[in-house]
Symmetry: C2
Protein backbone atom coordinates (compact mmCIF):
# COMPACT_ATOMS: atom_id res chain seq x y z
CA UNK A 1 0.00 0.00 0.00
CA UNK A 2 2.51 2.58 1.08
CA UNK A 3 5.08 2.95 -1.67
CA UNK A 4 7.63 0.26 -0.95
CA UNK A 5 8.32 0.74 2.73
CA UNK A 6 10.61 -1.83 4.34
CA UNK A 7 8.73 -4.42 6.38
CA UNK A 8 10.53 -3.43 9.54
CA UNK A 9 9.44 0.17 9.18
CA UNK A 10 5.94 -0.93 8.42
CA UNK A 11 5.87 -2.91 11.64
CA UNK A 12 7.32 -0.03 13.62
CA UNK A 13 4.67 2.28 12.25
CA UNK A 14 2.01 -0.11 13.43
CA UNK A 15 3.18 0.43 16.97
CA UNK A 16 3.56 4.17 16.59
CA UNK A 17 0.04 4.89 15.41
CA UNK A 18 -1.83 6.89 18.02
CA UNK A 19 -5.25 7.04 16.43
CA UNK A 20 -7.27 6.17 13.37
CA UNK A 21 -9.96 8.66 12.48
CA UNK A 22 -12.60 9.08 9.82
CA UNK A 23 -13.10 12.46 8.21
CA UNK A 24 -16.03 13.59 6.13
CA UNK A 25 -15.63 14.84 2.58
CA UNK A 26 -14.35 18.38 2.10
CA UNK A 27 -13.10 18.86 5.61
CA UNK A 28 -9.87 20.45 6.76
CA UNK A 29 -7.13 18.41 8.41
CA UNK A 30 -4.36 21.00 8.75
CA UNK A 31 -4.10 24.67 7.94
CA UNK A 32 -1.03 26.50 6.73
CA UNK A 33 1.02 28.00 9.51
CA UNK A 34 -0.45 25.95 12.35
CA UNK A 35 2.10 24.19 14.54
CA UNK A 36 1.88 20.46 13.90
CA UNK A 37 3.06 17.66 16.18
CA UNK A 38 1.82 14.63 14.29
CA UNK A 39 1.54 13.38 10.74
CA UNK A 40 -1.15 11.37 9.01
CA UNK A 41 -1.22 8.40 6.67
CA UNK A 42 -4.17 8.21 4.33
CA UNK A 43 -5.76 4.77 4.58
CA UNK A 44 -8.76 5.32 2.39
CA UNK A 45 -10.13 8.23 0.38
CA UNK A 46 -8.61 11.14 -1.50
CA UNK A 47 -7.04 14.22 0.01
CA UNK A 48 -5.69 17.44 -1.44
CA UNK A 49 -3.10 20.01 -0.48
CA UNK A 50 -3.45 23.56 -1.61
CA UNK A 51 -1.74 26.89 -1.30
CA UNK A 52 -3.69 30.12 -1.16
CA UNK A 53 -2.96 33.31 -3.01
CA UNK A 54 -2.80 36.60 -1.19
CA UNK A 55 -4.21 39.48 -3.17
CA UNK A 56 -7.76 39.43 -4.54
CA UNK A 57 -6.39 38.94 -8.06
CA UNK A 58 -4.43 35.88 -7.04
CA UNK A 59 -6.63 34.97 -4.11
CA UNK A 60 -8.10 31.66 -5.17
CA UNK A 61 -6.32 28.71 -3.65
CA UNK A 62 -4.53 26.41 -6.06
CA UNK A 63 -4.33 22.68 -5.56
CA UNK A 64 -0.67 21.66 -5.47
CA UNK A 65 -0.97 17.98 -4.63
CA UNK A 66 -3.43 15.15 -4.45
CA UNK A 67 -2.95 12.19 -2.15
CA UNK A 68 -4.13 8.64 -2.64
CA UNK A 69 -4.43 5.82 -0.12
CA UNK A 70 -1.04 4.80 1.19
CA UNK A 71 0.37 8.31 1.07
CA UNK A 72 1.48 10.27 4.07
CA UNK A 73 -0.43 13.50 3.59
CA UNK A 74 1.60 15.84 5.76
CA UNK A 75 4.88 14.17 6.50
CA UNK A 76 6.56 17.35 5.30
CA UNK A 77 5.53 18.85 8.63
CA UNK A 78 7.86 16.54 10.56
CA UNK A 79 11.08 18.34 9.65
CA UNK A 80 9.36 21.69 9.17
CA UNK A 81 7.16 21.87 12.27
CA UNK A 82 4.41 23.53 10.26
CA UNK A 83 3.11 23.57 6.75
CA UNK A 84 2.98 26.25 4.09
CA UNK A 85 -0.28 24.86 2.71
CA UNK A 86 -3.65 23.46 3.77
CA UNK A 87 -4.48 19.77 3.80
CA UNK A 88 -8.11 18.74 3.21
CA UNK A 89 -10.21 15.75 2.34
CA UNK A 90 -11.92 15.51 -1.00
CA UNK A 91 -13.86 12.34 -0.36
CA UNK A 92 -14.68 10.80 3.01
CA UNK A 93 -11.38 9.52 4.34
CA UNK A 94 -9.82 7.32 6.94
CA UNK A 95 -6.46 8.40 8.26
CA UNK A 96 -3.96 7.06 10.76
CA UNK A 97 -2.12 9.50 13.00
CA UNK A 98 1.49 9.25 14.07
CA UNK A 99 2.85 11.57 16.76
CA UNK A 100 6.05 13.19 15.60
CA UNK A 101 7.69 12.07 18.79
CA UNK A 102 7.04 8.44 17.88
CA UNK A 103 8.28 8.98 14.34
CA UNK A 104 11.42 10.60 15.66
CA UNK A 105 11.98 7.56 17.85
CA UNK A 106 11.67 5.29 14.85
CA UNK A 107 14.14 7.42 12.95
CA UNK A 108 16.62 7.48 15.80
CA UNK A 109 16.33 3.72 16.06
CA UNK A 110 17.11 2.85 12.49
CA UNK A 111 18.84 4.97 9.88
CA UNK A 112 17.39 2.99 7.01
CA UNK A 113 13.84 3.57 8.18
CA UNK A 114 14.73 7.19 8.52
CA UNK A 115 15.73 7.42 4.90
CA UNK A 116 12.66 5.47 3.84
CA UNK A 117 10.44 8.15 5.36
CA UNK A 118 12.55 10.88 3.83
CA UNK A 119 12.28 9.09 0.53
CA UNK A 120 8.50 9.28 0.62
CA UNK A 121 8.65 13.05 0.89
CA UNK A 122 11.20 13.18 -1.92
CA UNK A 123 8.79 11.37 -4.19
CA UNK A 124 6.24 14.01 -3.26
CA UNK A 125 8.79 16.60 -4.31
CA UNK A 126 9.35 14.84 -7.63
CA UNK A 127 5.61 14.92 -8.19
CA UNK A 128 5.60 18.62 -7.35
CA UNK A 129 8.21 19.13 -10.03
CA UNK A 130 6.11 17.28 -12.53
CA UNK A 131 3.09 19.42 -11.66
CA UNK A 132 5.18 22.52 -12.25
CA UNK A 133 6.19 21.08 -15.58
CA UNK A 134 2.58 20.31 -16.37
CA UNK A 135 1.30 23.80 -15.84
CA UNK A 136 4.36 25.45 -17.28
CA UNK A 137 4.71 23.51 -20.49
CA UNK A 138 1.58 21.58 -21.34
CA UNK A 139 -1.45 22.97 -23.13
CA UNK A 140 -4.89 22.49 -21.66
CA UNK A 141 -5.69 19.22 -23.38
CA UNK A 142 -2.30 17.66 -22.72
CA UNK A 143 -2.28 18.91 -19.14
CA UNK A 144 -5.59 17.30 -18.30
CA UNK A 145 -4.53 14.10 -20.03
CA UNK A 146 -1.26 14.15 -18.12
CA UNK A 147 -3.11 14.51 -14.84
CA UNK A 148 -5.34 11.57 -15.62
CA UNK A 149 -2.30 9.49 -16.59
CA UNK A 150 -0.62 10.20 -13.29
CA UNK A 151 -3.69 9.47 -11.23
CA UNK A 152 -4.36 6.28 -13.14
CA UNK A 153 -0.93 4.93 -12.28
CA UNK A 154 -1.07 6.05 -8.67
CA UNK A 155 -4.53 4.62 -8.17
CA UNK A 156 -3.41 1.39 -9.79
CA UNK A 157 -0.49 1.23 -7.38
CA UNK A 158 -2.81 1.38 -4.38
CA UNK A 159 -5.30 -0.94 -6.01
CA UNK A 160 -8.14 1.53 -6.44
CA UNK A 161 -8.83 0.93 -10.14
CA UNK A 162 -11.65 -1.32 -11.33
CA UNK A 163 -12.23 -1.83 -15.01
CA UNK A 164 -10.18 1.24 -15.92
CA UNK A 165 -12.26 3.40 -13.56
CA UNK A 166 -11.33 5.15 -10.35
CA UNK A 167 -12.99 7.59 -8.01
CA UNK A 168 -11.36 10.89 -7.13
CA UNK A 169 -14.40 12.86 -5.98
CA UNK A 170 -13.42 15.86 -8.06
CA UNK A 171 -15.85 18.28 -9.65
CA UNK A 172 -14.95 20.04 -12.88
CA UNK A 173 -14.11 23.19 -10.95
CA UNK A 174 -11.70 21.21 -8.74
CA UNK A 175 -10.03 19.86 -11.83
CA UNK A 176 -9.77 23.40 -13.18
CA UNK A 177 -8.04 24.32 -9.97
CA UNK A 178 -5.64 21.41 -10.24
CA UNK A 179 -4.42 22.20 -13.70
CA UNK A 180 -4.64 25.97 -13.46
CA UNK A 181 -7.35 26.52 -16.06
CA UNK A 182 -10.78 28.12 -15.96
CA UNK A 183 -13.71 25.80 -15.23
CA UNK A 184 -15.29 26.63 -18.57
CA UNK A 185 -12.18 25.68 -20.47
CA UNK A 186 -11.81 22.46 -18.53
CA UNK A 187 -15.34 21.64 -19.44
CA UNK A 188 -14.51 21.96 -23.13
CA UNK A 189 -11.34 19.93 -22.78
CA UNK A 190 -13.27 17.17 -21.05
CA UNK A 191 -15.78 17.20 -23.87
CA UNK A 192 -12.96 16.78 -26.37
CA UNK A 193 -11.46 13.92 -24.40
CA UNK A 194 -14.87 12.31 -24.18
CA UNK A 195 -15.66 12.83 -27.86
CA UNK A 196 -12.25 11.42 -28.78
CA UNK A 197 -13.08 8.38 -26.62
CA UNK A 198 -9.87 8.90 -24.66
CA UNK A 199 -11.38 9.14 -21.22
CA UNK A 200 -14.54 10.11 -19.42
CA UNK A 201 -14.75 12.29 -16.35
CA UNK A 202 -18.08 12.08 -14.63
CA UNK A 203 -19.61 11.96 -11.19
CA UNK A 204 -16.21 12.15 -9.57
CA UNK A 205 -15.03 9.12 -11.52
CA UNK A 206 -12.35 8.95 -14.17
CA UNK A 207 -12.63 6.23 -16.77
CA UNK A 208 -9.65 5.59 -18.99
CA UNK A 209 -10.96 4.53 -22.37
CA UNK A 210 -7.74 4.47 -24.36
CA UNK A 211 -4.63 4.45 -22.22
CA UNK A 212 -2.18 4.37 -25.10
CA UNK A 213 -3.58 7.35 -26.92
CA UNK A 214 -4.09 9.27 -23.71
CA UNK A 215 -0.47 8.73 -22.74
CA UNK A 216 0.67 9.76 -26.20
CA UNK A 217 -1.44 12.89 -26.14
CA UNK A 218 0.11 13.95 -22.85
CA UNK A 219 3.62 12.82 -23.75
CA UNK A 220 3.53 11.06 -20.42
CA UNK A 221 6.59 9.46 -18.83
CA UNK A 222 6.01 8.12 -15.31
CA UNK A 223 9.67 8.01 -14.30
CA UNK A 224 9.20 10.71 -11.68
CA UNK A 225 6.89 8.47 -9.67
CA UNK A 226 9.80 6.12 -8.80
CA UNK A 227 7.41 3.21 -8.84
CA UNK A 228 9.64 0.39 -9.93
CA UNK A 229 12.53 1.50 -7.85
CA UNK A 230 14.07 -0.28 -4.88
CA UNK A 231 14.04 1.79 -1.68
Amino acid sequence: MVRLLPDRLWAALGGACSEVRSLSARSVLTRAGEPVDHSALLIDGIMVRYVAGVTPATGKPLTVALQVPGDFVDLHALPLGQLDHDVCTLTPARIAFFPHEALRDIMAENAEDSRALWRLTMIDAAIHRHWTYRSGRLRAMAAVADFFCEMHLRMLACDRVTEQRFYLGLMQSDLADLVGLSPVHVNRVLKDLRDGDLCVFQGGYVEIRDWVRLQKLAGYDPGYLFMDDPP
Copy 2:
Protein backbone atom coordinates in the same frame (compact mmCIF):
# COMPACT_ATOMS: atom_id res chain seq x y z
CA MET B 1 25.03 30.70 4.31
CA VAL B 2 23.16 27.43 4.34
CA ARG B 3 19.68 28.04 5.60
CA LEU B 4 19.94 27.77 9.36
CA LEU B 5 21.89 24.58 9.83
CA PRO B 6 22.90 23.72 13.39
CA ASP B 7 26.56 24.48 14.12
CA ARG B 8 27.25 20.87 14.94
CA LEU B 9 25.98 19.71 11.58
CA TRP B 10 27.92 22.44 9.87
CA ALA B 11 31.09 21.21 11.54
CA ALA B 12 30.34 17.61 10.65
CA LEU B 13 29.81 18.58 7.02
CA GLY B 14 33.22 20.22 7.01
CA GLY B 15 34.75 16.83 7.74
CA ALA B 16 32.56 14.98 5.29
CA CYS B 17 33.41 17.06 2.24
CA SER B 18 35.33 14.98 -0.27
CA GLU B 19 36.10 17.60 -2.87
CA VAL B 20 35.53 21.18 -3.93
CA ARG B 21 35.28 21.74 -7.64
CA SER B 22 34.73 24.63 -10.00
CA LEU B 23 32.36 24.24 -12.91
CA SER B 24 32.05 26.47 -15.94
CA ALA B 25 28.80 28.19 -16.87
CA ARG B 26 26.14 26.08 -18.56
CA SER B 27 27.64 22.73 -17.73
CA VAL B 28 25.90 19.60 -16.54
CA LEU B 29 26.44 18.24 -13.05
CA THR B 30 23.94 15.37 -12.98
CA ARG B 31 21.54 13.90 -15.48
CA ALA B 32 18.15 12.40 -14.77
CA GLY B 33 18.26 8.68 -14.17
CA GLU B 34 21.97 8.39 -13.50
CA PRO B 35 22.85 6.59 -10.28
CA VAL B 36 24.25 9.11 -7.81
CA ASP B 37 26.42 8.41 -4.79
CA HIS B 38 27.21 11.93 -3.64
CA SER B 39 25.48 15.27 -3.23
CA ALA B 40 26.71 18.79 -3.80
CA LEU B 41 26.49 22.05 -1.93
CA LEU B 42 26.61 25.19 -4.02
CA ILE B 43 29.24 27.55 -2.64
CA ASP B 44 29.17 30.20 -5.29
CA GLY B 45 27.22 30.70 -8.51
CA ILE B 46 23.74 29.85 -9.72
CA MET B 47 22.49 26.43 -10.71
CA VAL B 48 19.27 25.16 -12.22
CA ARG B 49 17.31 21.95 -12.17
CA TYR B 50 15.10 21.02 -15.06
CA VAL B 51 12.84 18.30 -16.25
CA ALA B 52 12.56 17.39 -19.90
CA GLY B 53 9.44 16.69 -21.87
CA VAL B 54 9.11 13.57 -23.96
CA THR B 55 7.21 14.12 -27.17
CA PRO B 56 8.27 16.73 -29.72
CA ALA B 57 5.31 18.89 -28.73
CA THR B 58 6.31 18.90 -25.08
CA GLY B 59 9.97 18.30 -25.67
CA LYS B 60 11.58 21.47 -24.42
CA PRO B 61 12.96 21.12 -20.93
CA LEU B 62 11.34 23.24 -18.26
CA THR B 63 13.26 24.73 -15.40
CA VAL B 64 11.75 23.55 -12.14
CA ALA B 65 14.17 25.01 -9.61
CA LEU B 66 16.97 27.50 -9.29
CA GLN B 67 19.63 27.18 -6.62
CA VAL B 68 21.57 29.94 -4.92
CA PRO B 69 24.79 29.75 -2.88
CA GLY B 70 24.24 27.80 0.30
CA ASP B 71 21.76 25.40 -1.26
CA PHE B 72 22.30 21.70 -1.64
CA VAL B 73 21.58 21.21 -5.31
CA ASP B 74 20.87 17.50 -5.39
CA LEU B 75 20.31 16.36 -1.86
CA HIS B 76 17.10 14.77 -3.10
CA ALA B 77 19.29 12.07 -4.58
CA LEU B 78 20.37 10.84 -1.15
CA PRO B 79 17.11 9.08 -0.29
CA LEU B 80 16.23 8.45 -3.93
CA GLY B 81 19.52 7.13 -5.31
CA GLN B 82 18.92 8.93 -8.56
CA LEU B 83 17.19 12.05 -9.82
CA ASP B 84 14.22 12.61 -12.05
CA HIS B 85 15.72 15.81 -13.43
CA ASP B 86 18.97 17.33 -14.68
CA VAL B 87 21.15 19.63 -12.59
CA CYS B 88 23.24 22.24 -14.42
CA THR B 89 25.18 25.40 -13.80
CA LEU B 90 23.93 28.69 -15.09
CA THR B 91 26.93 30.80 -14.11
CA PRO B 92 30.42 29.57 -13.27
CA ALA B 93 30.06 27.78 -9.95
CA ARG B 94 31.99 26.34 -7.06
CA ILE B 95 30.52 23.30 -5.41
CA ALA B 96 31.45 21.08 -2.50
CA PHE B 97 30.84 17.34 -2.79
CA PHE B 98 29.69 15.05 0.00
CA PRO B 99 29.72 11.28 -0.51
CA HIS B 100 26.38 9.81 0.45
CA GLU B 101 28.18 7.37 2.67
CA ALA B 102 29.58 10.23 4.74
CA LEU B 103 26.18 11.92 4.90
CA ARG B 104 24.60 8.68 6.05
CA ASP B 105 27.18 8.47 8.79
CA ILE B 106 26.31 11.96 9.94
CA MET B 107 22.65 11.06 9.94
CA ALA B 108 23.20 7.85 11.86
CA GLU B 109 25.24 9.78 14.40
CA ASN B 110 22.74 12.45 15.24
CA ALA B 111 18.99 12.43 14.68
CA GLU B 112 18.72 16.18 14.86
CA ASP B 113 21.26 16.66 12.08
CA SER B 114 19.36 14.10 10.13
CA ARG B 115 16.18 16.12 10.34
CA ALA B 116 18.07 19.32 9.52
CA LEU B 117 19.14 17.83 6.20
CA TRP B 118 15.68 16.51 5.58
CA ARG B 119 14.35 19.96 6.38
CA LEU B 120 16.44 21.51 3.62
CA THR B 121 14.84 19.26 1.06
CA MET B 122 11.42 20.04 2.48
CA ILE B 123 12.00 23.74 1.91
CA ASP B 124 12.88 22.83 -1.66
CA ALA B 125 9.54 21.06 -1.86
CA ALA B 126 7.74 24.12 -0.49
CA ILE B 127 9.42 26.18 -3.19
CA HIS B 128 8.32 23.63 -5.77
CA ARG B 129 4.76 24.10 -4.56
CA HIS B 130 5.07 27.83 -4.92
CA TRP B 131 6.38 27.45 -8.46
CA THR B 132 3.40 25.29 -9.29
CA TYR B 133 1.19 27.98 -7.84
CA ARG B 134 3.03 30.60 -9.87
CA SER B 135 2.53 28.97 -13.21
CA GLY B 136 -0.94 27.73 -12.41
CA ARG B 137 -2.48 30.89 -11.08
CA LEU B 138 -0.43 33.96 -11.94
CA ARG B 139 -0.58 35.90 -15.18
CA ALA B 140 2.58 36.66 -17.08
CA MET B 141 3.31 40.00 -15.43
CA ALA B 142 2.57 38.77 -11.92
CA ALA B 143 4.47 35.55 -12.49
CA VAL B 144 7.64 37.30 -13.53
CA ALA B 145 7.31 39.75 -10.65
CA ASP B 146 6.77 36.85 -8.27
CA PHE B 147 9.90 35.14 -9.52
CA PHE B 148 11.96 38.27 -9.01
CA CYS B 149 10.54 38.68 -5.51
CA GLU B 150 11.54 35.16 -4.56
CA MET B 151 15.02 35.49 -5.98
CA HIS B 152 15.53 38.82 -4.33
CA LEU B 153 14.81 37.36 -0.90
CA ARG B 154 16.88 34.25 -1.48
CA MET B 155 19.83 36.21 -2.82
CA LEU B 156 19.56 38.57 0.14
CA ALA B 157 19.64 35.60 2.49
CA CYS B 158 22.92 34.41 1.03
CA ASP B 159 24.27 37.94 0.84
CA ARG B 160 24.44 38.25 -2.93
CA VAL B 161 22.55 41.53 -3.31
CA THR B 162 24.34 44.86 -3.74
CA GLU B 163 22.34 48.04 -4.09
CA GLN B 164 19.19 46.13 -4.96
CA ARG B 165 21.00 44.26 -7.73
CA PHE B 166 21.89 40.61 -8.08
CA TYR B 167 23.32 38.38 -10.78
CA LEU B 168 21.51 35.27 -11.95
CA GLY B 169 23.12 34.83 -15.36
CA LEU B 170 19.76 34.30 -17.03
CA MET B 171 18.91 35.31 -20.58
CA GLN B 172 15.37 36.27 -21.50
CA SER B 173 14.82 32.85 -23.03
CA ASP B 174 15.89 31.21 -19.76
CA LEU B 175 13.44 33.34 -17.89
CA ALA B 176 10.74 32.34 -20.36
CA ASP B 177 11.58 28.76 -19.54
CA LEU B 178 11.35 29.38 -15.84
CA VAL B 179 7.92 30.90 -15.85
CA GLY B 180 6.51 28.84 -18.71
CA LEU B 181 5.99 31.65 -21.21
CA SER B 182 7.26 32.31 -24.71
CA PRO B 183 10.45 34.37 -25.00
CA VAL B 184 8.65 37.06 -26.96
CA HIS B 185 6.00 37.48 -24.31
CA VAL B 186 8.59 37.59 -21.56
CA ASN B 187 10.33 40.33 -23.48
CA ARG B 188 7.16 42.40 -23.45
CA VAL B 189 6.55 41.76 -19.78
CA LEU B 190 10.10 42.85 -18.99
CA LYS B 191 9.54 46.01 -20.98
CA ASP B 192 6.42 46.75 -18.95
CA LEU B 193 8.24 46.14 -15.68
CA ARG B 194 11.06 48.40 -16.86
CA ASP B 195 8.72 51.13 -18.09
CA GLY B 196 6.82 50.98 -14.81
CA ASP B 197 10.15 51.37 -13.02
CA LEU B 198 9.47 48.24 -11.00
CA CYS B 199 12.58 46.33 -11.92
CA VAL B 200 15.17 45.98 -14.63
CA PHE B 201 16.40 42.72 -16.10
CA GLN B 202 19.56 43.14 -18.11
CA GLY B 203 22.85 41.42 -18.76
CA GLY B 204 21.96 38.60 -16.41
CA TYR B 205 21.34 41.05 -13.58
CA VAL B 206 18.09 41.81 -11.84
CA GLU B 207 17.69 45.24 -10.31
CA ILE B 208 14.77 45.80 -7.98
CA ARG B 209 13.67 49.41 -8.44
CA ASP B 210 10.51 49.38 -6.34
CA TRP B 211 10.26 46.44 -3.99
CA VAL B 212 6.92 47.44 -2.49
CA ARG B 213 5.08 47.81 -5.75
CA LEU B 214 6.72 44.71 -7.20
CA GLN B 215 5.61 42.65 -4.24
CA LYS B 216 2.11 44.08 -4.49
CA LEU B 217 1.91 43.35 -8.20
CA ALA B 218 2.82 39.72 -7.59
CA GLY B 219 0.74 39.38 -4.43
CA TYR B 220 3.89 37.93 -2.94
CA ASP B 221 4.01 36.25 0.45
CA PRO B 222 7.38 34.69 1.32
CA GLY B 223 6.07 32.37 4.04
CA TYR B 224 6.90 29.27 2.00
CA LEU B 225 10.62 30.06 2.20
CA PHE B 226 10.66 29.35 5.96
CA MET B 227 13.29 32.00 6.38
CA ASP B 228 12.55 33.27 9.87
CA ASP B 229 11.90 29.86 11.26
CA PRO B 230 13.92 27.95 13.84
CA PRO B 231 15.20 24.58 12.62
